[in-house]
């Protein structure tokens, strides 16, 4: 038996599904983040807020900077389709994609657990997806 077969033999099907999804997602995230940041730094696309303005205010708290610059937060960047075509907004979207990556992997695990009829872990994984969905919905907010 080859090393690879031996290694694969110690992970069940759900783990393999999770690992495969994670592999695809992680590589895509790296590419998307690199492209987004390149567009941001080179200013090939216009910026919604100039870099100098961000740098001039990065000593302020998030609340103060929001009050002053009204940067896109969470899903707000998708509210105006034209707004997406900005270098800084695309870079922000790449960070959102990174934050979504775990959710995507867990969704694949839920499907795999259900197909394997592992109902206890299906329930735990669904609960975990729900927790992340609640977080990603922006229902919970904080402020000082």
């Amino acid at each position: 038996m080859s090393d690879r077969q031996r290694e694969g033999g110690y992970a069940d099907r759900v783990q393999i599904v999770y690992a495969k999804t994670l592999d695809y997602v992680a590589h895509t995230v790296i590419v998307v983040m690199a492209v987004g940041y390149l567009l941001y730094m080179t200013q090939l696309l216009p910026l919604s807020v100039p870099i100098e303005t961000i740098a001039g205010n990065w000593h302020l708290s998030a609340t103060s900077m929001q009050a002053k610059l009204n940067l896109p937060c969470g899903w707000e960047c998708f509210s105006a389709p034209a707004g997406i075509l900005h270098g800084d907004v695309l870079s922000y979207i790449s960070v959102i994609f990174l934050s979504l990556s775990t959710l995507i992997c867990l969704a694949s695990a839920v499907a795999a657990f259900i197909s394997e009829k592992k109902y206890l872990y299906s329930t735990i994984a669904i609960l975990q997806v729900l927790v992340l969905l609640v977080a990603a919905s922006g229902i919970m907010s904080a402020g000082r």
Partner: protein, 318 residues
């Protein structure tokens, strides 16, 4: 007189030296750049952050700690960014590191979903709560508490032991119900290792507390996850380290949303930090077999204690 330095000490000494050299000029720059119209060009800070994250990535792997736990105290102490953005990036750095390391560990059965998911479920709920509390508190108080937490982490790193293959004579009822056990192939000794766990309810409680601290301060919580899995629950060290990555990727992702919706994530500083840390981690993994990790771990503990002390002073307004 010629002073000879053992070869095994040269790489850690060089990396640590580069880290310190980068920190020294950052101190006076900090005061200038903290002003609204900072005298230092923005790209200097962004470039310095990338280089710094790259070096941190190397050091983190060599010292066996997560990137987030080093990133937040050091960057918040020596760079001009507000603590809100540093904590937001800290979570994303930890998340990105865990994502890139995850697939091979899961395929080998080292990162275990059945062990990690219940812990991540409670940890992610508390990490959201921690992020909400942390963002609602005055930054100076958070900085003060961060200093205390970081100094405590340095103390834990000095005192905590580790056990390669802990003995679990009787698994607890909850772990049996959740079917938490496993088998993996130990490449070093070329044998199979089967494992089971005990003290699961206490483990869940501790993961709740760790998740809260991680979310509040933007720390990846590998420093705490691993001892709880390994020393408390009896998980073999390699499985504990690998599964800790899985747990902190889920917890980090949950808390990161709170920071994203608060506007506490700036791509300008987040992306170079993540990129630098991921690149550095890959180099660190290649250097790992060649260096004296004990030396670098001691250096990291010293740097952690120093940045924790600086956070304390900042929190006290000194």
């Amino acid at each position: 007189m010629k002073i000879s330095v053992p070869r095994r000490l040269m790489i850690p000494a060089s990396v640590a030296g580069a880290l310190l050299m980068l920190l020294m000029p950052a101190m006076p720059l900090l005061a200038a750049a903290a002003q609204p119209a900072g005298v230092t060009a923005w790209w200097v800070w962004v470039l310095a952050l990338f280089v710094f994250s790259f070096l941190l990535g190397i050091v983190a792997v060599l010292a066996g700690v997560g990137g987030g736990v080093l990133f937040v105290p050091i960057v918040s102490s020596f760079f001009p960014f507000h603590l809100d953005y540093v904590r937001g990036v800290g979570l994303l750095v930890a998340l990105a590191g865990a994502l890139s390391a995850g697939p091979p560990l899961m395929r080998k059965g080292l990162a275990d979903l059945k062990l990690g998911l219940p812990m991540a479920l409670v940890g992610s709920i508390s990490s959201i709560a921690g992020a909400l509390v942390g963002l609602a508190m005055p930054a100076q108080n958070v900085q003060l508490l961060l200093g205390i937490v970081i100094i405590s982490i340095a103390a834990i790193m000095v005192m905590a032991g580790k056990s390669g293959y802990p003995e679990v004579s009787r698994p607890d009822r909850l772990s049996q119900m959740l079917q938490i056990s496993g088998l993996y192939y130990e490449e070093f000794g070329q044998h199979e290792v089967s494992w089971k766990v005990h003290r699961t309810p206490l483990g869940l409680l501790l993961f709740f507390v760790i998740g809260f601290i991680g979310g509040m301060f933007g720390l990846g919580a590998g420093f705490a996850n691993v001892p709880v899995f390994n020393l408390l629950m009896g998980v073999p060290l390699k499985v504990a380290v690998a599964t800790s990555g899985l747990v902190l990727s889920i917890n980090g992702s949950a808390a990161a949303w709170v920071y994203l919706f608060k506007g506490a994530v700036l791509p300008l500083i987040a992306v170079p930090s993540i990129g630098g840390m991921m690149l550095g981690s890959k180099i660190g993994a290649k250097l790992l077999p060649k260096v004296n990790t004990r030396t670098i771990r001691l250096i990291v503990i010293a740097i952690l204690a120093l940045s924790g002390f600086r956070s304390l002073l900042k929190g006290l307004g000194i």
